[in-house]
Amino acid sequence: MSSVIPERGAAQPRGARWINVFAPALGLLGVVVLFAILTGAPERYLSATNLRVVLAQTVIVALGAIGMTMVIISGGIDLSVGSVIALASVVTAVLLRLGWAPFAAVLAGIVAGGIVGVVNGLAITKLKVVPFIATLGMLGIARGFAKYFANQQTVNAPATWINELAVTFPAHAWMLVAPGVWLTVVLAAFMTLVLRNTVFGRRIFAIGSNEAAARACGIDTDRLKIWIYSAAGLFFGLAGVTQMSRLRQGDPTVAVGVELDVIAAVVIGGGSLNGGEGSVPGAMIGALIMSLLRNGCQQMGWPNYVQEIIIGAIIVVAVAADRHRAARAAERTA
């Protein structure tokens, strides 16, 4: 019975927690070294220019992955990310065209994502629809609203500072990388601390680890879930604003299927779809691994389908390796 429950006192060493980030980091290093060798031009693959390209491309998925990490740790899933990105990008662009101040338009785009999150949370808790279905429904609803607001076409926005958010080469050379990259780094660090050191963060882990226990301990799990999906929605909204910034227009048909990249990033980074496990740094590394792979494949001149096959395989291998490692760890402590 207790084959996976180690004897008393044989608790996991504290360092084990770092393995959760260490393993994906090793994968990241592996991808970098592999392509540095394969391309035969490590100085080009590892050049500052190419790294800027990769980072700028990663921002949207990375921002989404921060929100998704919360959702997945709580034992949930959100499939509406791609549609929310499109919706937020359209909202921002439309409001800019209406003459809103850039800052207000950006805020509105983020809030649009938050509102979708609230609705997701309400559907999951009040209507008692499982997250997979509730957010699958929202995937359609948000995309539909994006097209409605955009009048079914792309929305050109006047040029503002927003367009500088996720450029490959920042306007000010001293920034080294785009402001959006810095923003992502800061938010990732902040959310790492929130998940580790706040009551809200620990309760996200608690609900994902054992929801019944959390409820029995007097935690209002419904309210907590609404907060989690809403907070995640804000990140998806921000990802949408970044999307608008990169395209310089609001596009209601953009980011189809991005939710799968975002989920993959979290899972490659050690997140468990059963809840209770996951980390923001891991998810960031997961997002980077996928960008570096795509970039590497492009540099090799490999066709798109090769990338798709490789990334698909990486997701499965990463998770299999993670499970194998977890099983080994359980054996060692047993």
Binding site: G9, S209, A216, C217, G218
Partner: protein, 481 residues
């Protein structure tokens, strides 16, 4: 005035009257045993007290004023903690986080980890369990220690009444002693403990008063020292019941299963034995000694080395973990019973539902499953009836060698004796049976031979009459590794 006073409480679930007029009083600073067969309504009563469900009628007074919690949070605020049979811990979180879950010390939303650890440490120290690290991952602790974590949680929010549902069902004797020590400490602080158990000897050891429930009614209550076992048992079952008497030894047939130096490290190091047709072999030993691993290795659930020779048709396996791997809870009795041998009621891959239901009904009658019909969802049954369904699947499978891991654990006396009777019946039909059990009276009552597992090594199997409970315990715990 009693601390808690339950008056004429009723609760109906669909067609079944789970509680049909329960009266129940608990005083501060005492341990009150709630006894009764599974399905008698004990868990329903606790669920009402802890705010998980609400009664249909009747009243509950706490400190003399009306008490009607709408959810577990309200029950907690009223000072009632419920420790479930399945522990409610979050395995990924630390011990300290679990103890203070829902009441985390914080400043502006920021977790005060130092304060949290100190409080957890203080609670653990009070119980003399300072060796449990508040920072350890709770999922990595033993079940017994996880239970301590839950009790500390109850004390952390200053519970006045602790409801414990079968807390010892997965503990070994040494841990039971420790748990009782903790319960006595809790009691001496003036906290009331309501204690559900199937073990009368255990109840006598820890509780002073009892209430017997049967079929949703409170049948009697009083001081335990004034009630003999036979009286309690007759109140529980409402009919005289044969206490487990030693089985007539059967004449064993040819060898059905030969096991030679079977090993599955780290838990199982070496097991050698044979079982003949018509024979029941008992495996005794402490939890964690490798008993379950022996069964699991035999059934191929974990990799092993050594020799296994099966002379006969098929192996049947009954898991000790009824909910985890014994049953498909969302499926019907019929699906569960026929699952191991769907072929018996299918033609060309299509299941003949009438035939399936008929076969299941026959099995249900044989093991006396109490349920509306074979299409009843297993989840709706009481624990004892669920176990009978799991056991019934073996009957339907009709294998020659049966591996039973704790076949009668955590179920009521009536269901137990039904299962014992059926095991004896199977042996009489020529099946070879291996039983793992923590409950020695059970092994003595039904086995022909007993072998004892100690730290992964199985002793020689000897006839029951050559063993005494003392000699078994001696073998199980004695000597160096």
């Amino acid at each position: 005035m009693p601390l808690l006073h339950v008056q004429s409480v009723t609760k109906r679930f669909g067609a079944t009257m789970a509680l049909d007029g329960v009266d129940f009083q608990v005083d501060a600073g005492g341990v009150h045993a709630l006894i009764g067969e599974n399905g008698a309504g004990k868990s329903t009563l606790l669920n009402i007290l802890s705010g998980l469900i609400r009664q249909d009628s009747g009243s509950i007074l706490l400190h003399g004023s009306s008490y009607a919690p709408r959810n577990p949070a309200e029950a907690r605020r009223a000072g009632i903690a419920h420790i479930h049979q399945e522990l409610a811990i979050a395995p990924h979180l630390s011990v300290a986080e679990n103890i203070l879950l829902g009441a985390e010390p914080s400043a502006f939303g920021r977790l005060r980890r130092g304060v949290m650890h100190a409080r957890a440490e203080a609670l653990l120290r009070e119980f003399g369990r300072e060796e449990i690290d508040p920072g350890a991952r709770t999922g990595a602790l033993s079940l017994a220690d996880q239970q301590v974590v839950e009790i500390c949680r109850a004390l952390a929010f200053d519970a006045r009444i602790i409801l414990m549902d079968e807390p010892t069902s997965s503990l070994q004797r040494a841990d039971v002693e420790r748990l009782f020590g903790v319960i006595r400490q809790v009691r001496d602080r003036g906290i009331a403990v309501v204690y559900i158990s199937h073990f009368l000897e255990e109840v006598r050891e820890i509780a002073a008063r009892y209430t017997v429930l049967r079929d949703g009614r409170s049948i009697g209550s009083g001081a335990l020292e004034e009630a003999g076992d036979e009286r309690l048992i007759s109140m529980m079952v409402g009919r005289p019941i044969e206490t487990a008497a030693a089985r007539e030894p059967s004449a064993p047939g040819e060898v059905a299963l030969e096991v030679h130096q079977l090993a599955a490290p780290p838990r199982l190091r070496s097991a050698t034995f044979t079982v003949r047709r018509g024979e029941i072999l008992g495996i005794a030993g402490l939890i964690g000694s490798g008993r379950s691993e022996l069964i699991r290795a035999l059934y191929g659930l974990i990799p092993s080395t050594g020799g296994i020779a099966l002379h006969g048709r098929g192996l049947g396996y009954l898991s000790e973990d009824r909910k985890g791997e014994g049953l498909a809870l969302q499926l019907s009795i019929a699906d569960n019973v026929t699952m191991s041998r769907f072929s018996s009621c299918a033609r060309g891959g299509w299941i003949d539902r009438h035939l399936q239901a008929r076969q299941a009904a026959a099995v249900m009658e044989r093991v006396r499953v109490k349920a509306p019909g074979p299409r009843t969802i297993v989840q709706r049954l009481s624990g004892g009836n669920q176990q009978k369904v799991a056991f019934g699947r073996l009957l339907h499978q009709d294998a020659d060698v049966l591996l039973l891991d704790e076949p009668a654990r955590g179920i009521d006396i009536g269901s137990k004796s039904d299962i014992y009777r059926e095991i004896a019946e199977l042996a009489a039909q020529g099946k070879a049976i291996v039983i793992v059990s923590s409950y020695l009276p059970e092994l003595f009552a039904i086995c022909d031979r007993i072998a004892v597992m100690r730290r992964g090594v199985l002793s020689a199997a000897r006839p029951v009459r050559e063993w005494t409970p003392d000699s078994i315990m001696q073998t199980a715990i004695g000597g160096a590794a």
